[in-house]
């Protein structure tokens, strides 16, 4: 392989290519900056491979088309930004209830509402987790760069199929819309992550088909055969399973990058675009002789609690850069010992967090 071969590509193309390489054959979405690049890419590429890509009349219909197509056997994908996620909410509940394998990329922008259209942000991290009524778990993966956008998108499809559940790719305007030169080898070779088994944890979605078994899919509480039930025991068992299918597999879903240095008592934890500023800050601090550890979280939800706790050994201080008011910091505060000093580095002013701000937090 030619290690000097580079590709100039943006996150939108990397995510779309990841979806196509994962076997996606159905996409429906509605235009919204900064996610439209994914829409245009998918609509252009899908018909070439016999798939279907369309722009719905709104986000509600787009996700509705995806859910319908999935029950007829499609491998479905959609993308939007925070305002579109608001409109996806009710159908995300339906996807959870019907156990639809569904991958959704959220290209975050600075809100609330129309907000500072269009500046980058990480303000929808909790929104993705609590995206619909009932509080049932979803899986959220967050790439920090373009090659990871490609590989995590492919992984999202495996997770969606295995758990028959919505899986988010939490990305942002900066990653999706910035063109970067990346090593072709990094796009081609997946990082050494654990494999996600192909076998579904429950039973595979058996699509509607002519001459196939008769299926009922419903958003109401239902029996294993898909028939509506009001039996409290069946309802309880079903709802427990919806939760447990994710929470029983947290270790398998957990994905982090540990960059630990022995003897360091400060750990920086970050994710997404801010993890890149973290890495730049760590490089700089280490070149100045500082001992410092860093933890990049790729699987934001379910929270990789064991991986986080194991990285806290000997740590007296945690710095958490994120482009919101501390949405993930609150989760870390819940996990860490009370005597650990936890500091946020936060920006909601349209600019990326700079490595210098993180260094300043370290030095303070």
């Amino acid at each position: 392989m030619n290690t000097k071969r580079r590709e100039m590509v943006d996150g939108a193309a990397a995510i779309a290519r990841g979806a196509l390489d994962a076997g996606c054959n159905f996409y429906a979405g509605y235009p919204i900056t900064p996610a439209s690049g994914i829409l245009t890419h998918m609509l252009r590429e899908l018909p070439k491979v016999g798939g279907i890509g369309l722009q719905g009349e709104d986000e509600i219909s787009s996700l509705g088309h995806c859910i319908g197509a999935a029950t007829a056997g499609a491998t479905v994908f959609t993308a939007t930004s925070g305002p579109g996620l608001s409109l996806y909410s009710e159908n995300l509940g339906l996807s959870i209830m019907m156990e639809i394998p569904l991958v959704i990329a959220i290209s975050q922008r600075l809100g609330p509402s129309t907000g500072a259209a269009t500046a980058t942000a990480q303000g929808d991290i909790q929104f993705m987790r609590w995206c619909t009524s009932g509080g049932y778990p979803v899986i959220v993966l967050s790439p920090t760069n373009i090659p990871e956008s490609y590989h995590l998108t492919k992984r999202a499809f495996k997770l969606a199929k295995r758990f028959r559940n919505p899986v988010f790719i939490a990305t942002d305007k900066e990653t999706v819309m910035t063109t970067e030169s990346v090593a072709e080898s990094e796009m081609l070779n997946a990082p050494s992550w654990n494999d996600i088994p192909d076998k579904p944890v429950y039973k595979p979605l058996d699509p509607y088909q002519k001459n196939g078994a008769i299926h009922h899919y419903t958003g109401s509480s239902h029996t294993e055969e898909g028939h509506i039930t009001k039996d409290p025991e069946i309802i309880a068992e079903f709802n427990e399973r919806l939760k447990n299918k994710i929470t029983d597999h947290i270790e398998e879903i957990s994905l982090v990058k540990e960059d630990m240095e022995s003897g360091s008592d400060t750990l920086i934890i970050s994710y997404g675009i801010s993890a890149r500023s973290m890495e730049a800050a760590v490089n700089k601090l280490r070149s100045n002789g500082e001992k410092i550890s860093a933890l990049t979280i790729y699987s934001l939800w379910p929270i990789p609690e064991k991986r986080i706790l194991s990285s806290l050994d000997g740590i007296k201080r945690i710095i958490i850069p994120e482009m919101n008011h501390g949405q993930y910091r609150h989760e870390i505060e819940r996990l860490a010992n009370k005597d650990v000093d936890i500091v946020g580095v936060n920006r909601v002013d349209t600019f990326l967090i700079t490595p210098e701000e993180i260094i300043k937090a370290y030095n303070d």
């Binding site: 009349e57 859910i67 319908g68 419903t218 958003g219």
Partner: protein, 439 residues
């Protein structure tokens, strides 16, 4: 394979219907069962998609596939099912309530002409929730939420489907003997089909408004809403049209990234952050791409962001390029090392950035754009004498050439190679001609 001969498509073990006495829903379900029977369809090739409301109880009464989703969205699920598997016959059972909350989906499915059949159970009010008014509630009617009479103009569901291009549109009543035949015609139409079926809600609407079968027919007449087939078009369905798109799609260029092999070298030691600030139409983003591509061809790492207003061909156009000997981690620019101002719109747009620049940084400016409020060193863009007449039309590409010469981040040859590898031949010829002035 011999076709199945079912006597009924009703799941008889689930009978009797749980609808209120006198409710017309059972009549329509019976007509649908008879229609499926006369079409001799295999239950596995039929998907019944039900909306929310009393009509949403219907899926369990059929031996076919069923889908029961969210209020007003049934049409969107049905379209998705049909798109993915055109072999399936997809039928939506929806009420007047669903046509209200999902009106947007109704009229857009008609426009899309997706090959599904929508049967509207139109009984003029919300039955399941206690008889509130719906989009089809007649004027002056009494409902739980219009106790002094409805003041809203009723929606014409069939008319909405018709005017928005629905392939097959009909109006009927639950009492029509030919409902199975009409349903069969609708199902066999290649495209969107809808039958607006008027019926009676005996629990609420009928008793509050003294509205029986006779009054319903009188109302239909008084509104000038005829029954029967209202529209039948030859327009191809989405399914048919999309096959054409799939057939032609391969002609469209791939949108994947640009692959560049390292051909040149550079001894750049630390990242350089460059901002090109101009106006729409100056090809600023294209010039930024050239600098990033030339750096990439020289073994450097780059990021390139573009910023412009949501309207095009007006206002500022800014390209932010980071060029680095190591992969770019932080791609933001809050203080450029180099800024090039080539139009006043861009100059104004980046005044916060130029204001942050320090003495060691450089601002290059085009004619009349100097004197920036900044500590940076400020120098005019000095294009070669021979290029002067090109400045008005091609200032961005000239600036890329000038910066390449001045900053010496990568070989000038790399910029020419970037033009050859990334631009269309006609544009490349013009830009290579411009660069010749520097040599």
């Amino acid at each position: 394979m011999t076709k199945p001969k079912l006597d009924t498509y009703i799941a008889e073990e689930n009978l009797p219907y749980e609808f209120c006495p006198g409710c017309s829903h059972g009549k329509i379900l019976g007509a649908l069962s008879n229609s499926l029977k006369q079409q001799n369809l295999d239950p596995s090739e039929v998907v019944i998609v039900t909306d929310i409301g009393c009509v949403g109880l219907s899926d369990k009464y059929f031996v076919t596939h069923a889908f029961h989703g969210l209020h007003g969205r049934a049409i969107t699920y049905a379209s998705g099912i049909k798109m993915q598997n055109p072999e399936l016959k997809v039928i939506v059972l929806i009420g007047d309530g669903g046509c209200g909350i999902g009106g947007h989906h109704l009229l857009n499915a008609a426009r899309l002409n997706t090959d599904i059949t929508v049967l509207v159970f139109n009984n003029f009010n919300f039955g399941m929730t206690g008889g509130q008014h719906s989009v089809t509630t007649p004027l002056d009617s009494i409902t739980a939420t219009t106790t002094l009479g409805s003041t809203d103009a009723p929606m014409d569901i069939a008319g909405t489907a018709k005017i928005n291009g629905g392939g097959f549109v009909a109006r009927a009543t639950a009492f029509d003997k030919d409902l199975p035949d009409l349903t069969e015609k609708a199902m066999n139409h290649d495209g969107f089909s809808l039958i607006d079926i008027w019926e009676l809600c005996t629990a609420y609407y009928v008793v509050r408004n003294d509205f029986g079968r006779k009054e319903m027919m009188g109302y239909m007449d008084s509104m000038g809403m005829e029954s029967g087939i209202l529209q039948e078009t030859e327009r191809p369905s989405f399914q048919t049209s999309y096959k054409g798109i799939q057939g032609q799609a391969s002609k469209q260029k791939s949108m994947s990234g640009l692959v560049l092999d390292t051909k040149f070298s550079s001894d750049l030691e630390k990242p350089v952050r460059i901002v090109l600030a101009g106006a729409a139409g100056q090809k600023v983003v294209s010039a930024g791409n050239l600098l990033a591509s030339a750096a990439t061809l020289s073994g450097l790492w780059t990021s390139r962001r573009a910023d412009f207003p949501i309207t095009i061909q007006t206002g500022f156009s800014v390209a932010e390029i980071v060029i680095s000997p190591e992969p770019v981690l932080y791609s933001g620019i809050i203080k450029p090392d180099v800024a090039a101002l080539i139009a006043s719109e861009g100059k104004d747009k980046i005044d916060r950035l130029t204001g942050a620049m320090e003495e060691s940084d450089t601002i290059y400016f085009a004619d009349n754009l100097g004197d920036v409020d900044s500590s940076a060193n400020q120098l005019p863009l000095k294009f070669p004498e021979g290029a002067k007449k090109e400045v008005r039309k091609n200032i961005a590409a000239l600036t890329a050439g000038y910066l390449t010469k001045q900053l010496n981040l990568f070989p000038f040859e790399a910029l020419k190679e970037a033009i050859r590898q990334t631009q269309k031949p006609k544009i490349a010829e013009i830009n290579l001609g411009l660069l010749a002035h520097f040599e």
